[in-house]
């Protein structure tokens, strides 16, 4: 369970987050929409303890994310449009390295298991720099799952993927969701967001301005709400 209250983050004179309140239930898939500069990435970075908020509270499974950041990091996995992978290391070496950072008992066994799971079996000893963008992103999912977190943050995961790779990523994300994991995703793609999430949120200028259940919307109806909110004029 994730509970965010009155969260603010200021960079100099810029307010990236202006009092965000959010409550995400266990097993829920929430998609965060918003234009560039709305503070979506800042919010995810704050939830994942990368950024310390200027004020406000973040509780992850009842743990204060600022006070108990090490424990919180063991519970979360982050998938971004950046892969956090080393191009000069093989797929296996990358995952084993991250497994060791989480002090897993059998790093290589866990790494091989995940490489199979994301459909990269047979490529484990290939350098990541030889991978296509889609393969890198699948390996990035394996990296994020290495310590079996039950909370996943996805920051624009579809960015730079072709249609086939997007489809494969979508299938992998659906698989993650059925594992009763709590997932928060940011995306600009309304279709992707509505397809897999339970709840949708619109963030604008550092504030949550709209929340609803995905079931209440079709792509068209949500597009109408979204563009009315952000002033897209559609």
């Amino acid at each position: 369970m994730i509970k965010v209250s009155a969260l603010r983050k200021t960079y100099g004179s810029v307010d990236a987050l202006r009092g965000v309140d959010l409550h995400v239930k266990e097993g829920e898939f929430l998609t965060l929409f918003g234009p560039n500069g709305a503070g979506k990435t800042t919010l995810l970075k704050t939830l994942s303890t990368i950024i310390k908020p200027t004020s406000g509270k973040v509780y992850i499974d009842g743990l204060d994310a600022i006070e108990a950041d090490h424990e919180v990091r063991r519970k979360i996995g982050v998938i971004s449009h950046k892969t956090f992978l080393y191009g000069d290391l093989s797929a296996l070496e990358n995952l084993v390295f991250y497994a060791r950072m989480y002090q897993l008992p059998n790093p290589e066994e866990r790494a091989r298991e995940l490489i199979e799971e994301v459909g990269l079996g047979g490529r484990e000893n290939h350098l990541v720099e030889t991978f296509s963008r889609g393969m890198e992103q699948r390996l990035s999912i394996a990296r994020a799952l290495i310590h079996n977190p039950h909370i996943i943050y996805l920051d624009e995961p579809y960015s730079g993927l072709d249609q086939h790779a997007s489809l494969m990523l979508g299938n992998l994300l659906k698989k993650l969701h059925t594992d009763t994991r709590t997932i928060i995703m940011t995306t600009h793609n309304i279709g992707h967001g509505l397809e897999i999430s339970d709840r949708i949120v619109i963030q604008l200028a550092g504030k949550v301005v709209y929340e609803d259940q995905t079931a209440n919307h079709t792509t068209k109806s949500f597009e109408k709400v979204y563009f009315e909110m952000v002033g897209g004029g559609k």
């Binding site: 970075k45 994942s48 303890t49 990368i50 950024i51 310390k52 090490h70 424990e71 990091r73 063991r74 979360i76 982050v78 971004s80 950046k82 892969t83 956090f84 992978l85 080393y86 191009g87 000069d88 290391l89 070496e93 390295f97 991250y98 060791r100 950072m101 989480y102 002090q103 350098l127 990296r143």
Partner: protein, 226 residues
């Protein structure tokens, strides 16, 4: 605590593995270091009387600037796919990332220093056999001090525009005590003086190492924070 050091070691080993594959740092550091030796070899007469007075300075110009070249690239592989963020997401204290980087940077700089010494001996006609052990001690202590501060500033400069230019500007004023102590101690060692004569410079190096490793341990977390 063991697991902390184990993970620090894995970060250092990962850097070593990446370097073996990419050969980005060691080659450029080594070429630079030898080039300095060659240029000064032409500038000064290797058989001249004064060569023992200027040789320590030449050695440290080569070692300090080649180490700076390596420091500039220390967070390059982390920056490419935001791997630093990947490391920061792990439950390792952020000081562990710093010490892992210090470990690999110190290792690379020492390798370059050890490979530079034979060139130094040949180009300036200085026998290092008798002084190898004390000279190695000075190189190790000075390298740790230089890298301790350098790694900290490399973490700052990686996130800013023209970071490669900013790093030496930030670094050298603070490194002055290390460079002076290293040059003075090396000079005395090459003159065949006893350890008691240059022990003060060794103490300065040790003190600098301890202070800056501790300061970096405390401050690294804040410096990598966005």
């Amino acid at each position: 605590m063991t697991s902390y050091f184990g993970r620090v070691m894995h970060i250092g080993l990962k850097d070593l593995k990446v370097e073996i594959r990419s050969k980005e740092r060691l080659y450029s550091m080594m070429v630079f270091s030898i080039l300095v030796m060659v240029i000064f070899n032409f500038a000064f007469d290797p058989g001249a009387e004064y060569i023992r007075e200027v040789a320590p300075g030449i050695l440290w110009v080569a070692l300090v600037f080649s180490a700076t070249l390596g420091l500039n690239k220390t967070f390059a592989s982390e920056k490419e796919q935001d791997c630093l963020q990947g490391l920061m997401l792990s439950p390792l204290d952020r000081s562990g990332i710093y010490f892992g980087k210090v470990l690999s940077n110190t290792f690379f700089s020492l390798i370059v220093a050890m490979l530079t010494l034979p060139f130094f001996a040949v180009f300036f006609n200085i026998s290092l056999l008798q002084v190898f052990m004390p000279l190695t001690l000075v190189i190790v202590l000075a390298t740790i001090g230089f890298i301790a501060v350098g790694t900290l500033f490399a973490a700052i400069s990686v996130g800013v525009k023209r970071g490669e230019m900013i790093l030496p500007i930030l670094l050298f004023p603070i490194e002055v005590p290390v460079i002076i102590a290293a040059v003075k101690a090396t000079s005395m060692i090459l003159d065949g003086r006893m350890m008691v004569d240059y022990s003060m410079w060794l103490k300065i190096l040790i003190l600098f190492d301890i202070i800056f490793l501790m300061v970096s341990f405390v401050t690294f977390d804040y410096l990598v924070e966005e």
